[in-house]
């Protein structure tokens, strides 16, 4: 077994663009769930909308930041659309509506009637030109660079440049959440999470705050969608229900209502997953094929999660004391 290669892969996964993207999506979900108590089961829908809004406008020749703003606007509109009918009702309605809405977005964007815009079933690839505006901003020379164990292209696709920008975005996300959690605004959200009628009785416009949280967390998802698709391609089916549940897993693993929980959760989930997968592949077990080993890795990850939820329900970083408070 080639341990150097395995550990290189595993550690490389820790700072991969996809890991950063999941961290961002989980930061958004943390604003929904951890801070406000909103049950959004459609975070992948926000990612998908963000990715398509970005890619379509980039292909149309918009500059990078304009495309990012387009992705954010898409998330704002989607959030408002979902929020208007559901946020005045009890929590469960939002979860039902979001899960359905995310599926609708996915199915519509892969439909053949939209092929000219979204690439339909086969999606959008680098060849369609959606990566150029981002890559043209790259300050590094062409070619690739080896830093210690890892070799990646400087500017194109799965690049050092993308890693840098994606993790800077994660850092900004953490900074914002840190600031918000310690502000009176975050306090209102927390109050809503605990009991929205009590907050209403104190004269706060609960509906407005929930809408703000839904939209903000959705923007996190949309930005995540951009970084998730920049190293590979935009594929509707790559951002479905599984993605949403992975994001939830990450949030609960790292610890909801914490600043770094989503980041730690994402790094943990993807490195552990990579570790299990690589070991199984290298062990060359006769009774397990490589496709089975991928599925088996998911099972092991699932088992780890179950143990974690049983023995450490507040997640790695969560506050045990806070969770121990019995909500009577």
């Amino acid at each position: 077994m080639d341990w150097t290669r395995i550990l290189t892969n595993v550690a490389g996964e820790a700072f991969a663009p996809a890991t950063a993207a999941y961290a961002l999506a989980a930061i958004g979900l943390n604003i929904h769930f951890g801070m406000t108590g909103l049950l959004n089961f459609g975070q992948a829908g926000f990612m998908l909308l963000g990715a398509y809004a970005y890619a379509i406008t980039a292909i149309a020749g918009w500059p990078f930041f304009a495309s990012v703003i387009a992705a954010m606007v898409a998330a704002v509109l989607f959030g408002i659309l979902l929020g208007i009918p559901t946020l005045k009702l009890r929590g469960d309605y939002l979860s039902i509506v979001t899960i359905a809405a995310a599926e609708i977005v996915r199915i519509i964007s892969r439909s053949t009637s939209l092929t000219s815009l979204t690439g339909g079933n086969s999606g959008l690839s680098g060849g369609d030109g959606y990566k150029e505006s981002f890559e043209s901003l790259c300050p590094f020379p062409d070619g690739s660079t080896t830093l210690w164990l890892w070799t990646y292209p400087n500017c194109t696709s799965n690049s050092w440049w993308l890693r840098l920008v994606a993790w800077v975005a994660v850092a900004i996300g953490c900074l914002l959440v840190w600031r918000w959690m310690r502000s009176p605004w975050g306090r209102v959200l927390k109050g809503i999470r605990e009991d929205e009628d009590a907050v209403r009785a104190l004269g706060k416009n609960v509906y407005g705050y929930k809408m703000q949280a839904l939209v903000l967390g959705g923007i996190g998802g949309a930005i995540a969608g951009i970084f998730y698709t920049l190293p590979t391609s935009v594929q509707a089916d790559a951002m479905g229900r599984t993605t949403t549940f992975n994001i939830w897993t990450i949030l609960l693993l790292g610890g909801a209502a914490t600043v770094f929980g989503p980041v730690l959760g994402s790094v943990l989930l993807w490195t552990v997953f990579m570790l299990v997968k690589s070991i199984l592949r290298d062990a060359e077990l006769s009774f397990i094929t490589s496709t089975q080993s991928e599925a088996f890795s998911w099972m092991l990850v699932g088992l780890t999660l179950m143990l974690l939820v049983i023995f450490r329900p507040q997640g790695v970083l969560g506050d045990k004391k806070e969770l121990a408070i019995d909500v009577r």
Binding site: V188, K190, D197, A198, R200, A201, L202, N205, R328
Partner: protein, 323 residues
């Protein structure tokens, strides 16, 4: 903590002091009010007309006319299921009336949302206490303050914008907590408080909004007798500061002790109104309560005598010590 005397002396203790005692002045104002359901008041803060709310055919609330005197403590009593909480919900915007109109401080307010009613100065507490369990006591209090600049999404990112206001709010919160003897608990999670302490916290939190009218749904339920005494002091203190209080209470001792006026509900309707001293002799009230309370002395004042209170306090302390 509860064994000390209430911060605001019981109103009776002030009789003979300088100036006009609020309770006496209010009693004088209300003396001429006819003792009939829906009686007009000299200076009403709430005027309600034809308010009805039904749940599947039963009229939970069916109030023809109701006026609540400004600056007074009005007790709303009635048997279980009389519609008291539902009326509270309607007036405070937590529920929508089928029909009916009402005004608060002269402005029509029916159909307004709960948040807008609270901003207009009508703040309430709940029969089932709503302490925000996984927030600290002091954060519960801070949340009550209105007009916070830091509650804006963008301004919240700039602490320099809201820091001084936050300090002022925190100072006021500690002041109120001290008054309600909760200051030692300021940094504990609200979920760790006892039922009675939560009632106090909810009331203190409501006061953070600088209300003009306070609506308390069974503020004394589940509170031990020693705490009750200081809670009564707090409620009369609100009136002495100029606030209007409307409260629901089942215990007639409490009602007699602090209220200036009593409104009796039964089966959704207002069946009687009058001063607390005489209301229990009203035939409609006796009828309303018959069955549930017919063998209880509804106006026994014994509980409010000092030695009984002391005895209760000692019992409560002994109980706390054994825990």
């Amino acid at each position: 903590m509860s064994a000390e005397t209430p911060p605001t002396p019981a109103p009776d203790a002030r009789v003979g002091g300088a100036g006009v005692v609020p309770r006496e002045r209010i009693a004088k104002d209300l003396a001429a009010v006819p003792r009939v359901p829906g009686a007009p008041k000299p200076d009403p803060i709430i005027v309600a007309d034809g308010v009805r709310r039904s749940f599947g055919g039963i009229n939970a609330v069916d109030v023809e006319h109701l006026e609540v005197q400004r600056g007074a403590i009005t007790a709303l009593i009635g048997p279980n299921g009389a519609g008291k909480t539902t009326l509270f919900n309607l007036l405070t915007g937590f529920d929508k009336a089928d029909v009916g109109e009402w005004s608060f401080e002269g402005r029509p307010v029916h159909g307004r949302t709960a948040a807008r009613m609270a901003s207009a100065g009508m703040v309430r507490t709940f029969q089932l206490t709503k302490a925000l369990s996984r927030m600290t006591v002091i954060d519960n209090m801070r949340l009550g303050a209105t007009g916070q600049r830091g509650e804006n999404l963008l301004a919240s990112l700039l602490p320099s914008v809201w820091r001084s206001q936050e300090a002022a709010i925190t100072a006021r919160a500690y002041e109120l907590l001290e008054r309600f003897k909760l200051d030692t608990k300021a940094d504990d999670f609200a979920g760790s408080l006892s039922g009675g302490q939560r009632k106090l916290l909810e009331m203190a939190r409501a006061l953070m909004t600088h209300p003009t009218m306070v609506m308390l749904d069974e503020p004394m339920a589940g509170v031990n007798p020693a705490l009750t005494q200081s809670l009564l002091g707090h409620i009369t203190g609100l009136r002495d500061e100029g606030m209007t209080v409307l409260f629901v209470e089942h215990d007639m001792h409490m009602v007699r002790h602090i209220s200036d006026w009593v409104v009796v509900m039964a089966e959704g309707r207002i069946v009687a109104e009058g001063p607390p001293e005489t209301i229990m002799q009203d035939q409609a009230v006796v009828d309303a309560y018959l069955g549930a309370h017919h063998d209880t002395d509804l106006g026994d004042d014994r509980l409010l005598e000092d030695d009984v209170v002391e005895q209760y306090e000692a019992e409560a302390e002994a109980e706390e010590a054994t825990q």
